[in-house]
Symmetry: C2
């Protein structure tokens, strides 16, 4: 049964032709995202042009029907789940790379292009777009922008917000706006395009993006550093970030993660490893050895147990094996996992990891920390059995304490996943009332009737 | 004579004590900026705390009295000239560096600290804050943020907006807001702090800034490349920006600028120089030679006349002499100068420079172009005699055409100076009506009564 006003359904069906899905079995594919939350939309639109998006938003606004933008639903926060019903706008048919301009270091794309497809198209030009979420192969650029997606490379190259030059978008008021220009500098009025990045489809629907590209390095090399304890590793992170060679990746694993990678994942790691850093540099054949040398010098210090560098690609892959063994290994401990991506200032990593382990003991749940140490962006994985109601409750209670701890350390709720449904109830702890009130007012400027992705990002 | 409501003047004078200037001779020092525009404020406030700023804005709002934030008035657009009278808030007494946190690569400062003082304080930590406007020695961090100031280093390190992590600010509604966190990643709600950067005091008054710092390179080295013509130089810029070693500066001078630097400034430059690039790399002693080699390889190509690299600091200074001779040399041609800072995509530099020379002929005025080629950000200097009314009119007419040309090339009005009074009438050409309307609505959310820096940035 379709809850849309019949006149709207008829008009939009006429507008979109076969790009209009009303059948429940078809709609089901657009009901969920990687948060495992689910809510059936009343219809699904598959526009092919910005004009269609504009007409669609105006028509939905006239009827006060929710509009929920969707890339490929790889996000983990419920941000693309249509909890209030309405129309899901999937950008899967707006997936063209419109222009690649190597001299201007930019590419112009439609929102539905996959991150991985874009990277492949950029390769012959020896350029890349920095955001590299784990989902890159099957997540869209539009979705990456909506969530301000990052990834390990962000430590050197920034996240999505740092790598967008201009956006064309349709606001919730049904206006087409053009923000920014295809230039790396701009001081012409308010910065609207970076405001849209990370707004999770609550302000506007992106219909075109001009992306900042970066020259691809010719080579990369990895170093693995093992430390006695987290505090030694964190001090090494601070040393690494204070010298002039910025690593292209700087990944951290706590003792729990190291043990899992060794015992379950089969990675070769010493028994006394209390923490591990994977450090990577990129560049060219001439400069890379010097960069690696500088990073190894910075990694060396109090508490270092072992320092290995990978002379070739095979050795590099072997070093990374520990990190890659981790996610599958997590599943062997417990079927349920809450994977949060809190951020703290780099110097506070030890307090975060120690505090999390105290919480693990207090709530009698395994908690494994690993992630992007150079940005202070740690994935805190709370493991539990969803079938066990008491465990589920303890996990939720522990999660609230993880956020409180993070905020008390001067950090924030999310580094790259976003807020969505999952974290919106914690927003009042992260932001002061006037700041939150201002965000709500901005939302009503872009979306006066509150039709865009209702119930997300801002707390109830 | 003081136009402020007497009750307001009395209350603010009581609030601020000797930080309240009402005497006309004292107010005169706060009437102008580097645009040479001038308007006397009704009073000047020199707050020392955020609480004073908050109380001041609330009191002014109650009486609908304008509030104009001021750093040191080095901006060139009239952005800090109080054209509607009211209270100028000078941050000269809020000039403390509150914290330098090397491990977190950030510094916390009050808005009135001078850029140059901050850089000096960071030096022992071997860190720096990237924005390097020409005025760095005597401009404030708050002013740099308000204008999104850049400088030559932006090609590698970004401008102000790219180098701020968090802001505390007082909105025109009289609310204290906290935006961002002291972390290099964040996906927690809307990005308010980058929205405030470049808003020229029209949305809020910044009372504290957490700045992103970058490790200082140990060494730098410069290369000077001379080309037959602008097109050859622009192609070299595109080649330089397409390879993996990003220069730390990439400055351009057109034939006019080269001739001036040689004939008036006394720089040693060949007669057949049609364009010049100053290319600088930074890094450490190990990697710098390789970086310079890569840059020289990229600089070499069609139309190259001469390529010199500076082996030591003295030679580097000598190469830069041509660029430094330029500004004084400009003054010898004509007493009047309109210095704009348009931006175009890098590949469009030849069209911009050629088009500007056509305008120079059409309007019979010398126009000299130089600037930050790696960002496509060129300073277009229209030279004229202000005493000659016809010349002044031709300069204004030519300027309008320079902006139209820039916009037709996909560029924008300003790269680093901002809009202020000088360019606000051109905003409707740069932005579509719905985009401009949205900016106005955002302004009224932050500043419902329009008391913050009225008459700036947005067109009448």
């Amino acid at each position: 049964m379709n809850a849309l006003p019949p006149v709207l359904a008829r008009d939009l069906s006429a507008l979109l032709g076969d790009g209009w899905l009303a059948d429940p079995s078809e709609r089901l594919a657009y009901a969920y995202d990687n948060s495992r939350r689910e809510a059936l939309p009343d219809a699904v639109a598959l526009p092919t042009t910005r004009e269609q998006v504009l007409a669609l938003v105006r028509a939905c606004r006239a009827q006060r029907v929710p509009v929920v933008a969707r890339g490929r639903g790889t996000n983990t926060t419920g941000a693309s789940v249509p909890i209030a019903g309405g129309v899901v706008v999937s950008f899967e048919r707006m997936d063209r790379i419109l222009d690649i301009r190597p001299g201007d270091r930019c590419a112009v794309v439609e929102p539905g292009v996959l991150n991985g497809e874009l990277q492949a198209a950029l390769q012959p030009h020896r350029l890349f777009w920095p955001p590299d979420p784990t989902s890159a192969a099957f997540s869209t650029v539009g979705g990456n922008l909506a969530c301000n997606a990052g990834g390990p490379r962000a430590v050197k190259y920034g996240a999505s917000r740092d790598n967008v030059l201009a956006l064309t978008a349709v606001t919730g008021a049904g206006e087409l706006i053009h923000c920014g220009t295809a230039t790396t500098k701009g001081a012409t009025g308010y910065d609207l395009h970076r405001l849209l990045v990370g707004s999770e489809g609550t302000l506007a629907l992106i219909v075109e993006a001009t992306l900042r590209l970066v020259p691809a390095p010719n080579a990369r090399r990895a170093v693995r550093a093992i430390y006695r304890d987290v505090s030694s590793a964190a001090q090494a992170v601070a040393r690494l970030m204070a010298q002039p060679v910025t690593p292209s990746m700087l990944e951290f694993m706590d003792a729990h993660a190291v043990r899992l990678a060794r015992d379950v994942g089969g990675a070769e790691l010493p028994m006394d490893a209390g923490a591990l850093l994977m450090i990577e540099a990129d560049g060219d054949a001439d400069t890379l050895p010097h960069a690696i040398e500088a990073l190894m010098r910075a990694a060396d210090g109090e508490g270092l147990v072992a320092l290995d560098d990978a002379a070739d690609e095979a050795a590099r892959e072997q070093l990374w094996a520990a990190r890659k063994a981790l996610s599958p290994a997590l599943r062997t401990i417990a079927p349920g996992k809450i994977n949060e991506d809190v951020v703290v200032p780099v110097s506070r990593i030890p307090q975060l990891v120690d505090g999390v382990q105290l919480l693990a003991r207090e709530f009698a749940l395994p908690i494994v920390c690993f992630g992007h140490a150079g940005n202070g962006n740690l994935h805190v994985n709370l493991l539990f059995d969803p079938a066990d109601g008491a465990q589920r409750e303890r996990a939720d209670a522990a999660l609230a304490r993880v956020f409180a701890l993070t905020l008390s350390l001067g950090g924030t709720l999310s580094g790259e996943h976003g807020i969505g449904l999952a974290k919106r109830e914690y927003m009042p702890q992260a932001l002061t009332p006037p700041t939150l009130a201002l965000m709500r007012q901005l939302k009503s400027v872009f979306d006066p009737d509150g039709i865009l992705n209702p119930g997300k990002l801002l707390p109830p």
